[in-house]
Symmetry: C2
Subunit: 385 residues, 2 copies
Amino acid sequence: MNYFSSDFKLGILGGGQLGKMLLAETRKFDIQTYVLDPSSEAPSQFGAAKFFRGNLMDFETVYQFGKMVDLLTIEIENVNLDALDALEEEGLKVYPSPKTLRLIQNKGRQKDFYVENSIPTSAHQRFVDINDLKKALENDELEFPFVWKCAQFGYDGNGVKIVRSTMDLIDLPEVECIAEQMVPFKNELAVIVSRSVSGEIKTYPVVEMEFHPEANQVEYVICPARIDEKVAEKAQKVALKVSEAFNHIGLLAVEMFQTEDDEILVNEVAPRPHNSGHYSIEASYTSQFEQHIRAILNLPLGNTDSKVAGIMVNLVGEEGFSGPVVYENIEKIMAIDGVTPHIYGKRETRPFRKMGHVTIVNENMAAARKIAEEVKNSIRVISVQ
Amino acid sequence: MNYFSSDFKLGILGGGQLGKMLLAETRKFDIQTYVLDPSSEAPSQFGAAKFFRGNLMDFETVYQFGKMVDLLTIEIENVNLDALDALEEEGLKVYPSPKTLRLIQNKGRQKDFYVENSIPTSAHQRFVDINDLKKALENDELEFPFVWKCAQFGYDGNGVKIVRSTMDLIDLPEVECIAEQMVPFKNELAVIVSRSVSGEIKTYPVVEMEFHPEANQVEYVICPARIDEKVAEKAQKVALKVSEAFNHIGLLAVEMFQTEDDEILVNEVAPRPHNSGHYSIEASYTSQFEQHIRAILNLPLGNTDSKVAGIMVNLVGEEGFSGPVVYENIEKIMAIDGVTPHIYGKRETRPFRKMGHVTIVNENMAAARKIAEEVKNSIRVISVQ
């Protein structure tokens, strides 16, 4: 198959920042792309050969879009899977497959899958709605504290809540949900596994999410993770086991907990480029976005090693600001060696909205970590009032 | 000035591969761009907010385009300078300035400029046309051998010829030209100097063009150049002197000869991203394209150091092939660690047409050089017959 400067068309469902960074790689290889996204202000509206607006959950929209392309991929899991089934049945290549997506879209189903495949994960219970969960509490089939998660459409900490008493249940929505056992952990880790159509597999190094000591929010994604070599090996092994179980094509980002006694428990996965791999654009020989393209087109996978240490800081909208975005002090951080801002292209900021990220690369991890803190303390995503 | 996700518009004259790679950086920063190029198949047609077709040498076209943007830059020197003069007079920021471009557009004028500014360069004579040159030969004011160059619109070895006898004059066009003294040289070197609006200056490492032993064609651009530290320092110094003389804003690629006795002679310059800096996308902390954007927007300049050794191989159309392009063995080279092809997006190949380039990065220069040879010997730019 000739993908380069040819008539071949790659379809991408979703036009957010992940799609935008994917597009950059398709431009580098001159692969023709069609993008579908509901928003007229989607970050991926530039760079595609054609950009279409439409609802990603609508059967007809997704089906029609799929009929125009030669291969279909996603940058968001929440797409109409029945349309993907129909397209696949008619012979279209869909990577990741709707089967993989179906296992992942529902967090209850995803957790069951780990249990079925002997993949270490925290204990969980599934509930059809919040009343079902309350009944379990009344019957002593569920105990406080636990982690409540809505089964579908959660993202970035939305749809997740630590429940310590019945008071924490008051504001929870009526939707299908799961309750997970609370596991005290030392570190949150992630490994991105790439797997091509022909089955070639390469894993990226283990990264570490460093949390704010008080706010309990991820502040830095750090590659490589500053953990024991043996723990890193174990995390890689678990990630590979998860990858094998899903038998996915493309990337699979595996988020894990390192428990107090150095066990590895799988938290959740994403079958696509992932926030925990953004560092790879600057730090790795092959960025996660290029790797996803290579994997789904059955091209040889690239080298996943790092050239230098990499740290990623998310740029999220500051609390108290809504409106046209201003990146305060961006020039200050750009004056520091090895600092690269990525601006996703959303014109309006809102509290906690993901607006971009900053990568810090350095030969020396300690130096990178120090600069990352300086970056974090300098730049603010605000709006002109 | 707020450039990021704002109403600010950057205009780019020219939509070739250099423009395409510039656009990738404007997307990363979400800077709005307008592009002007005569071709409907320009590599930069994707990724700009707006793409306009028009003649870059036409006053009215360039002037009207300039009136729509907040700052104007170029990716090709051959643009209508009178239009740029008019725009600049009316207050538009034009970087590089028409003054700089005027000194460079005409190679005779460029050589005079070096002499006026005591910049080391080979001896030259200017001629209004080929008859003028022939007269000089008859009057013994010019001697064989010499290097003939057409004064304007030459590119990539077009418009350059070594003249050893009157027979070599037969096919030369009637245009304005120069004759340069032939200088035996050991190496062809280049240094890219970046200079921002506020006068901040950073130079990239010296790169080396390695020639094919027989064909006298550049095969590899190698960073850092495998030359004596002292020669590298001298080349950097000369490049900085040239940069100061031009007082340019943006990038200035300075091509130089290292003579048999280790003198540095300036060959020619380009006031924009340059083929000799393509390695920087993968090898440097800041790519030349990002640096050009930083310089013309008066943002702090980025770190010009390399993370790893970098070698660039041009992908040019194979002799004997014209038509829809195929990159033979591209999958083979993509299987090698640290190899990244860049496909410019020209659908038709022609003999010697620049279709793309391949970057090879490695911690070890000798390993990179070996892989570069493997790449060079594997990939072929052909067409389906």
